[in-house]
């Protein structure tokens, strides 16, 4: 929250998926309280965290997000009673999957921010933005967008763990 405009080399793109009843309202409160936070975040409003599909997070990374925030109501506060409870399990599983696939989870933040927690919204957004800024751009998914099949094969042919049967080798050579 620096008053002076600070120039950074890298402005990360942060996408926030938030529920309308708690976190969106919490962000509104940060606004009415004139709190300051980095301008990197783009907010997408959902009725409930229960509506947020893991595919959206994946797509956001593919489309160039350097960090993603998912935020909703605290347990027990859900406007729809249980949407956030379902979301909690879904994202616990999704995190494990992304981690296993090799995505750095520091780029993916989950939080509960209530309509009264303008300060927490600022804190969560600022922390994620600065963390991702320090990490640099998220290149993994972006680079995939530009790659074609086979391209990595030859270079990786001798890496252990990569299946490289004679039949495959033969097939590749024919291409």
């Amino acid at each position: 929250m620096h008053a002076e405009a600070k120039q950074h080399d890298f402005e990360p793109k942060i996408v926030a998926f938030v529920c309308t009843w708690c976190t969106y309202a919490g962000a509104d409160l940060a606004g009415t309280s004139r709190m300051q936070y980095p301008a990197n975040v783009r907010v997408l409003k959902f009725p409930c965290t229960g509506r947020i599909d893991p595919v959206f997070i994946l797509r956001a990374f593919q489309k160039g997000a350097d960090g993603v925030l998912v935020s909703g109501c605290h347990p027990g506060d859900c406007h729809y009673m249980a949407g956030n409870f379902h979301a909690r399990r879904r994202f616990a599983a999704f995190r494990a999957l992304l981690d296993f696939v090799g995505v750095d989870l520091h780029r993916l933040q989950f939080s509960w921010v209530s309509a009264a927690e303008g300060g927490k919204w600022v804190e969560v957004v600022t922390e994620l933005t600065e963390r991702v800024r320090a990490m640099g751009p998220m290149l993994e998914f972006k680079s995939l967008e530009h790659e074609e099949q086979w391209s990595a094969f030859q270079a990786m042919a001798d890496v252990p763990g990569v299946v490289n049967t004679p039949e495959l080798k033969e097939a590749y050579d024919k291409i």
Binding site: A93, Q149, A152
Partner: protein, 314 residues
């Protein structure tokens, strides 16, 4: 776990065991077809080449005499009850030959209202293991050629079937190859994990065999085929491939019974079952849920507890 299990542990499974199972299946199938319990039986018939097997729906006692069970009976037959084979169950009650791993798929499908227990006559196989992908079809089953999934099988002795064929012998002291591989990948630095999967996914040709063979991919329209909106790019390029495999693993989380058919049919040898197993492990740790042990009313991602772990949420 099972008192009747005859733990005759040896370095190879004698072919005679499979012959005994074959005989038991035949006798049972003939009987249920004759007495009208079932309208047909989904089972295995010998393949055209020696040492192979093929899935088939048979409807007469005569055909039932030809049913077999051999190490080549790798297919998960539950997939012959849904999707394009939905019509099968309309003919009446159907008998189905199921290994332990296939039974988990059946249980899962029952929990998801795709099949009903009373529509099935389950002829379970007390399974000693089946061939891995590169097995020579004339050999006995040994540690060298048994399928990877069989190394860590916990359902040799299926429960809850209408009939169990055989009382399995099993190979002892098999190395848990998949668990070791999973541990190895988990231990890799994050960037190397990404590189590992990137390499595998980039080879994917999007033949969709993994989807075709999966008992749980029974959707009539796959999310990944949709183009309004197109959530997952459907041309075989690394970006879309990665998305496809992540979405696939996520959709199977809490449902996959571990039959590893996806991995078996993958022409590009992508270790797909690793993803499934990793998710199963996570859900077991977090919510003490194991898919397919019995038809569950709700899967782990369709229910919640108020005090579920939320240590990852700020």
């Amino acid at each position: 776990m099972n008192a009747k299990a005859n733990k005759n542990q040896s370095s190879c499974i004698e072919p005679s065991y499979y012959q005994a199972v074959t005989q038991a299946i035949r006798t049972q199938a003939v009987q249920v077809l004759k007495d009208g319990t079932v309208a047909g039986v989904v089972g295995y018939l010998p393949g055209r080449r020696k040492g192979t097997a093929r899935p088939a729906l048979i409807t007469t006692p005569e055909e039932a005499e030809k049913l077999i069970f051999s190490p080549a009976c790798v297919n998960n037959l539950s997939v012959y009850l849904t999707k394009s084979k939905k019509g099968v169950l309309k003919q009446g009650r159907i008998g189905i030959v199921a290994k332990g791993c296939d039974m988990r798929a059946l249980a899962g499908l029952m929990g998801e209202s795709q099949i009903k227990r009373e529509d099935l006559f389950i002829i379970a196989v007390d399974c000693a293991g089946v061939y891995g992908s590169r097995a020579e079809r004339s050999e006995s089953v040994t540690e060298a050629n048994i399928a990877r999934k069989c190394h860590e099988c916990t359902v040799h002795h299926p429960e809850g079937a209408d009939f169990v064929a055989g009382a399995a012998t099993e190979l002892s002291g098999l190395t848990p190859l998949e668990a070791e591989e999973m541990a190895r990948i988990e231990a890799l630095p994050q960037a190397e994990r990404w590189a590992f999967w990137k390499e595998h996914f980039s080879r994917c040709i999007r033949c969709m065999a993994c989807r075709q063979v999966c008992p749980f991919c029974y959707c009539e329209q796959c999310l990944c085929d949709k183009n309004r909106p197109q959530a997952v790019e459907n041309s075989p390029r690394p970006a879309g491939n990665t998305a496809w495999h992540i979405v696939r693993a996520m959709h199977l989380a809490g449902r996959c019974g571990g039959c590893a058919e996806c991995e078996r049919v993958c022409p590009m040898d992508i270790p797909l079952n690793l993803l499934n197993r990793r998710m199963a492990k996570e859900l077991k740790e977090l919510y003490d849920y194991e898919a397919g042990l019995a038809p569950a009313e709700k899967g782990p991602l369709n229910q919640y507890k108020e005090d579920d772990d939320q240590s990852f949420i700020k």
